[in-house]
């Protein structure tokens, strides 16, 4: 008596595996299509609008309309109500919405390397390699955005998100299906008293979220035994007003025993990067002891939608590199303490994937050679034209994206 979810890359033989498992177990198949239609019925929103929740791109109007959040809230409700049943096989994006407290769920991921997937694309749909790669890239992007939005994990295939990740380039359909069925017997995915309760809490959370989005609000919703905790994840100046209103909306939801609010990550600017956006080109770290200069530069980069952080000496830069993950670093050579060349050397030793752009007012031709030999991405002179710097940043970014794409 359990539930299976499967979330896969495209061209990983998902459909035949699902078919084999459902026919051998008799589990009822629930696809995204079914849930989208349920959510559409519950909300009165069109199916197309609901389906758009699974896309990586968000409408520019969403800031004012919260359409995406509304779609997800109703999808969650449709899913939560479905979970009152047992013996389900939930296929697609929506399955990721089940909270981990609902422990009688076997979470499966099917994935394969690019070579295998392009081959399957050619067999199944006669796609050329170029078209297949493009399609795979696009759909992976949607999946990455979905997983990132839900769990803050950029890797949609991360093992931590699943009970089993099956490499389809190494297993055939029958083996994969057998593996899933075998794992269904495992004690950890058996329905228990507490996992049943978790489903009830999930239903209440979904109803709470719907009540909130109906009033135009969004907040993180957590429910434990009927007690609701709302997390406000954005900065709001009139916080007490907002808390009051959220509480009054939620306390009217049937089944809610108590409501509490707290402020979450998005409320305080805890992150050193002032703007973290999936579509923002990169996380840029500026290292320069001329404070005025870096602050101005940082603001201009933010205006160009690049998240940036600032440090004023080599030592703090290295510290930040080790605990955080800048993608690109803009580095001055002449600084007190550890100088730029040494920072470059150490960064390239420990974190070669970080692209370093040298920006210096004093460097000589010899310095340039040293830096480029050490693996700097570009060497620019101050005063720098912001357009030229932007261009370099974009190129560095492109290189990083290509490397990442090649690795996955």
């Amino acid at each position: 008596m359990s539930v299976i979810t499967v979330f896969s890359g495209n061209f990983c033989k998902e459909d035949p595996v699902v078919l084999e498992v459902t026919s051998s177990t008799g589990y009822k198949l629930v696809t995204d299509k079914v849930l989208i239609s349920d959510a559409s019925r519950l909300s009165g929103m069109g199916e197309g609008k609901i389906e758009r929740a699974f896309s990586a791109t968000t409408s520019v109007f969403n800031k004012f309309t919260h359409e995406k959040e509304r779609a997800i809230a109703y999808l969650r409700l449709a899913l939560a109500e479905t979970l009152s049943d047992d013996d389900l096989f939930i296929q697609g994006f929506a399955g990721q919405l089940i909270p981990k407290e609902v422990s009688h769920v076997l979470r499966v991921c099917l994935i394969a390397d690019l070579k295998f997937r392009t081959k399957v694309a050619a067999e199944e749909q006669g796609l050329s390699e170029k078209d297949a790669v493009k399609l795979i890239h696009n759909e992976d992007n949607d999946r990455a955005a979905w997983v990132n939005a839900l769990f803050g994990n950029k890797d949609p295939w991360a093992a931590s998100l699943y009970d089993i990740v099956i490499p389809m380039d190494k297993k055939d359909v029958a083996e994969a299906a057998a593996l899933i069925v075998k794992n269904l017997d495992s004690d950890v995915v058996k329905t228990t008293e507490s996992s049943r309760k978790a489903v009830e809490d999930f239903i209440l959370a979904a109803n709470t979220e719907v009540a909130l989005v109906k009033e135009g609000h969004t907040a993180g919703v957590n429910v434990k035994d009927g007690s609701v905790t709302l997390t406000i994840n954005k900065h709001v100046l009139m916080l007490s007003r907002l808390e009051e209103e959220l509480k009054s909306i939620v306390s009217r939801v049937p089944g809610v025993k108590s409501v509490d609010t707290k402020v979450g990550r998005g409320f305080h600017k805890a992150d050193v990067y002032r703007k973290v956006d999936l579509e923002a080109p990169s996380k840029v770290l500026l290292v320069d002891d001329e404070r005025e200069f870096v602050q101005t530069l940082s603001e201009r980069l933010i205006m160009r939608e690049m998240g940036s952080a600032v440090t004023y000496d080599g030592e703090s830069a290295l510290k930040l590199v080790s605990k955080d993950e800048p993608e690109v670093m803009i580095l001055d050579l002449k600084m007190p303490g550890i100088d730029g060349i040494e920072v470059l050397r150490r960064v390239k030793e420990t974190r070669p994937e970080i692209e370093v752009i040298i920006l210096t007012g004093h460097g000589s031709e010899a310095d340039r050679k040293v830096c480029m030999d050490l693996g700097a991405f570009a060497y620019l002179h101050k005063p720098v034209d912001i357009d030229l710097l932007s261009e370099s940043l974009k190129k560095a970014n492109e290189k990083i994206r290509q490397k990442k794409a090649a690795m996955s």
Partner: protein
């Protein structure tokens, strides 16, 4: 006027005209005739001056607005809305520099990292929105205003008056010419049919 008040007054003008970042202590010293040492004797740093201005603004706004609502005579909740919004425009005119400061981005950015700043701003905005909400609730009780969410409606009314002041501040249009229509619209929006 004490030296400290002179500094605050000059800083209010400079911050509102040029912005926080563009204003230097050297300039403040030049405008007020107070030595930089004197300025730092009264205030820890530039941010401290800024926060003191906000605190003064907060105290004055709350005192004036609350006194007006308490002592004003209104025939109905709907009339109170008219009075409260008109008084908002009056205050914006009286405290032009402070409102200009409130319309800048910097205080709101600072509020995201500085709890003291956040608290001042929240109190200022709350004071106005609470006043409008109070009027709506009164109107719903006396039958002059129809049933609608008092919380959301008071925020929307605030965004309208705040927007009109911005029109004036940045000379988008002669805001005075819109006042009569604004009052009429508010009435039509709220009035029980």
């Amino acid at each position: 006027m004490s030296k400290k008040d002179t500094i605050l007054q000059a800083a209010t003008r400079l911050f509102s005209e040029k912005g926080f970042k563009e204003t230097s202590i050297a300039e403040l010293s030049k405008t007020t005739g107070a030595a930089e040492g004197t300025i730092f004797y009264h205030f820890k740093n530039k941010e401290d001056i800024f926060l003191s201005i906000l605190e003064d603004t907060r105290n004055r706004v709350i005192e004036e607005f609350e006194r007006y609502l308490k002592e004003g005579k209104f025939d109905s909740g709907l009339d109170m809305i008219e009075g409260a919004t008109s008084f908002y425009f009056y205050l914006a005119g009286m405290m032009e520099e402070q409102f200009l400061l409130l319309h800048r981005r910097h205080p709101h950015e600072l509020a995201e990292v500085n709890p003291v700043c956040r608290e001042h701003l929240e109190a200022i905005y709350n004071c106005f929105v609470n006043g409008f909400e109070q009027a709506i609730l009164l109107g719903q009780k006396d039958g002059s205003i129809r049933k609608m969410s008092s919380k959301k409606t008071s925020l929307i009314i605030f965004s309208m008056v705040d927007g009109l002041v911005r029109f004036k501040t940045y000379n988008l249009y002669d805001a005075g010419a819109l006042h009569k229509e604004f009052i009429e619209l508010c009435r039509r929006m709220l009035q029980k049919k």
